[in-house]
Subunit: 231 residues, 2 copies
Amino acid sequence: MASEILVIEDEQNVRRLVRIALQRDGFSVLEAEDGKTGLQLFAAENPDLVILDLMLPGVDGWEVCREIRARSSTPLIMLTARGDEVDRVLGLEMGADDYVVKPFSPRELVARVKAVLRRQGAQDNHADEPIVHPGLVINPAERTVLLDGQPIRLTPKEFDLLALLAAHPGKVFPRERLLQRIWGHDYWGDERTIDVHITRLREKLGRNSGAREYISTVWGIGYKFEVAERK
Amino acid sequence: MASEILVIEDEQNVRRLVRIALQRDGFSVLEAEDGKTGLQLFAAENPDLVILDLMLPGVDGWEVCREIRARSSTPLIMLTARGDEVDRVLGLEMGADDYVVKPFSPRELVARVKAVLRRQGAQDNHADEPIVHPGLVINPAERTVLLDGQPIRLTPKEFDLLALLAAHPGKVFPRERLLQRIWGHDYWGDERTIDVHITRLREKLGRNSGAREYISTVWGIGYKFEVAERK
DNA sequence: AACAGCGCTTCCCAATTTCGTAAAAAGGGG
DNA sequence: CCCCTTTTTACGAAATTGGGAAGCGCTGTT
């Protein structure tokens, strides 16, 4: 299953170089020579990864990055002209997954594309598979939860929290990471917010149906999902 | 957990700047002012990442890079004086993971360090691999510890201490370094504090189950982890 | 072998940090 | 404007942590 990559870059030669390098490694390539076209193609084709030049005519790279991040978490690699360090740092903070400084070797770019895709793929592998635990079934595709066979109503944040934790039973999620994964990399709120959602989740999950505790506190760190246990 | 970074750089001012910037972001820093010392420290401490100046007195940067690459795949960021394309390409082909051109801003360097670690960390979760010793299994991902198959409850500091020591069996950790790695560079407490935590760890680890001693005292220095031994 | 000196171990308790939860405030569709 | 969700705030409860001090053990010396 070849990944589809959208290249947004105004210099034709660079674009061609990148396309050839990517295609040689089996990727499928879409090209756009300005931000507007790029966003349209993005919306229409929903590619697996975007390579984005910062210096673009018309809608500039920042704007494109923002737009893409606003509506998806598709991996994004930035191309930046050498020397403006601000671009690099801000790029990472804007939500780019990696960046490459011009001029670059096509081989290096391909290596980074693969690295980013691998990283991504490792994280949300079975994105839509139901998550099943004793007495608890979570269905991400439908965003529904069954507790002892009975459907329960969760709010969006509650669902995301539960789905993330339950998808990795036993693994500890520091609050910081939960904020990053569920609230997004640019969220600047209080970590105590998580506690409140956890409290409500526990309430909906369990108090009624026996002395079960799905979500346990890891002191000084965060929370983790654990298979049901009797106390 | 705080990553440990080795900075090999001859100019004291640059070294200091880098150290301060890294420490402010929670990294633990080792310094070397020439290639020879750098390689020794590398071998002794096995840091999580190396920042390497190309222009060094004595053994030069290329040589250091080669040596490091010859025996490990620890991430490496190069500092290069000029914006010579040659340096850069050679550097990447020599096995550097990134490079930074002097003069650079500390913020940029820290951003690159994080990016490289993130890229790295996603691939080989070395940091989260379980640490296994006879009768003792430590799982950093879950922050759990099994002693003779039975789970035991450790506090955050206890766990961090045990994980750090057990990850480097036989290696002596001076109190000073333990404070730096676990409490952070800006901690100003008493070194006796460590003793207290070690005491409590030993208690939880062992008194009951035989004359085993996992953590041994190195008189006048600090502590180390040793494979179980009967007395 | 006894001794002195210094470092280590342990006990104890107070200070600090972190957590859970309630309640209030803020945000966001319809 | 109302209802539902989310975020902030506040505070008591719980757990962890740090430092003092007494006692023990190691080391090198006499």
